[in-house]
């Protein structure tokens, strides 16, 4: 039976919380595998494991709980080793590297931010800033909505203005939150967000980061920010805090 691997912790990592359920149905009990002075959190791998929501959540919960007790390198979901011995061997062979990563991420958590526009507020803002659009909308309205072409023309101009704002706001969100984080990592490519960014934050700096998010919200009522954290540092395990928070690509720190 193959071995499901959740994450890697330092050898000194304290014991796992009792009753923590692993992946599978019924949930497989957790155990640890040691090697090279490190400890891997593992369980049996259920036959035919699929990325079902329950299993993804089990993976996430195990790592969150384990991370509360010390630094953990979270594995990506679905990592299977042939057996426990193979896990121990990997730990031994790469102990130095993993120890370095664990030290680098010690006491740090990930916060993921996703931003969307409040469409209503954005239209409002776009119209208020653009007399040409207002005139066009007014002209359409006077002629009972305008022709199909009129509508398309207005709609296209509005859409372009909103898209420009999406791009500006994406940069803004990142720029305004960077100072409260140690590292930044773009989130996985997914649609639906104008910004999807993860930040590496010291645990004891979490309050400051959350305050910074609130500040962005307050200053940008047309933005809706979704905050998820503290999370295991998924986005910073490899090669770690790669990018210093102060060197964003293409954005220049503007004076406040």
């Amino acid at each position: 039976m193959s071995t499901y691997v959740y994450g890697i912790t330092a050898g000194s990592h304290s014991s796992l919380p009792e009753e923590l359920a692993g992946v599978g149905d019924p949930a497989r009990p957790l155990r640890t595998v040691e090697g090279g002075g490190l400890t891997a959190i593992v369980s049996d791998a259920p036959e035919g494991l699929r990325p079902k929501r329950r299993d993804l959540l089990a993976h996430q919960t195990v790592l969150s709980e384990a991370g509360a007790g010390g630094s953990v390198l979270p594995m990506r979901f679905g990592s299977l080793a042939p057996d426990d011995d193979a896990v121990a061997q990997v730990l031994q062979e790469r102990a130095e590297h993993y120890r370095e990563r664990l030290a680098a991420l010690d006491g740090r958590v990930e916060y993921n931010i996703k931003a969307t526009h409040n469409e209503e507020a954005v239209l409002y803002r776009v119209m208020s800033e653009n007399p040409e659009l207002r005139a066009l909308a007014e002209s359409n309205r006077r002629s009972g909505g305008g022709s199909h072409e009129d509508k398309l023309r207005l709609g296209e101009m509005v859409a372009q203005a909103v898209q420009r704002l999406e791009s500006t706001d994406a940069d803004e969100v990142r720029r305004q939150l960077e100072p409260a984080a140690e590292a930044v990592s773009p989130g996985p490519d997914s649609t639906g967000w104008l910004a999807n960014v993860s930040f590496l934050v010291p645990r004891d700096g979490s309050a400051r980061f959350v305050e910074a998010v609130d500040e962005v919200r307050k200053n940008n009522p047309h933005l809706e920010l979704r905050v998820n954290g503290p999370l295991p540092p998924y986005s910073f395990v490899e090669p770690g805090p790669a990018e210093p928070a102060r060197t964003p690509s293409g954005t220049v720190a503007a004076e406040e």
């Binding site: 509360a68 990592s79 207005l154 509005v158 989130g187 993860s198 959350v210």
Partner: protein
């Protein structure tokens, strides 16, 4: 267990907050080449609705429709939810660094938008929680004055 500030999850619906995390579980995290990964075909996670603006005829028509519903000439008397909205926008205009001051024209537009908001309320289930939360204090303030 050292739990740092209250877990923050999502900004609106709890279920999509879940999605936000699962996405990271699936796409980020340590990968070890000596291990294999389970197939990700047929992922059973929540789908999200696309809200970023996509250039398409549908989008254009939708925006045009939203704009056409605006009555740019009508005064504040036409809308009930107005004072709150104007107050909110004026406030944010003053706070925001680069928002610029709202002109009179912009305020007139706000009338129209608040009207559009009322009309479109039924469709706006996702984005409602925050605006509503923001309006609540303003309302309270008015009552106390």
């Amino acid at each position: 267990m050292s739990v740092v500030p209250a877990q923050q999850s999502g900004g609106g619906g709890g279920s999509s907050g879940l999605y936000d995390v699962l996405e990271l579980v699936l796409d980020r995290g340590l990968v070890i080449d000596a291990f294999v990964r389970v197939s990700l075909v047929g992922i059973e996670i929540l789908k999200i609705d696309v809200r970023v603006v996509v250039a398409s005829v549908d989008t254009y028509l939708r925006f045009a429709e939203a704009c056409n519903r605006l009555d740019l000439e009508s005064g504040p008397n036409k809308s009930t939810g107005l004072p709150e909205l104007v107050g909110e926008m004026t406030e944010s205009g003053a706070r925001g660094k680069s928002k610029g001051a709202l002109s009179g024209a912009a305020q007139t537009i706000s009338d129209a938008f608040s009207q559009a908001r009322d009309e479109g309320r039924g469709e706006e289930s996702r984005s409602e929680s925050r605006p509503r939360a923001r309006r609540a204090p303003a309302r309270k303030k008015e009552e106390s004055e």
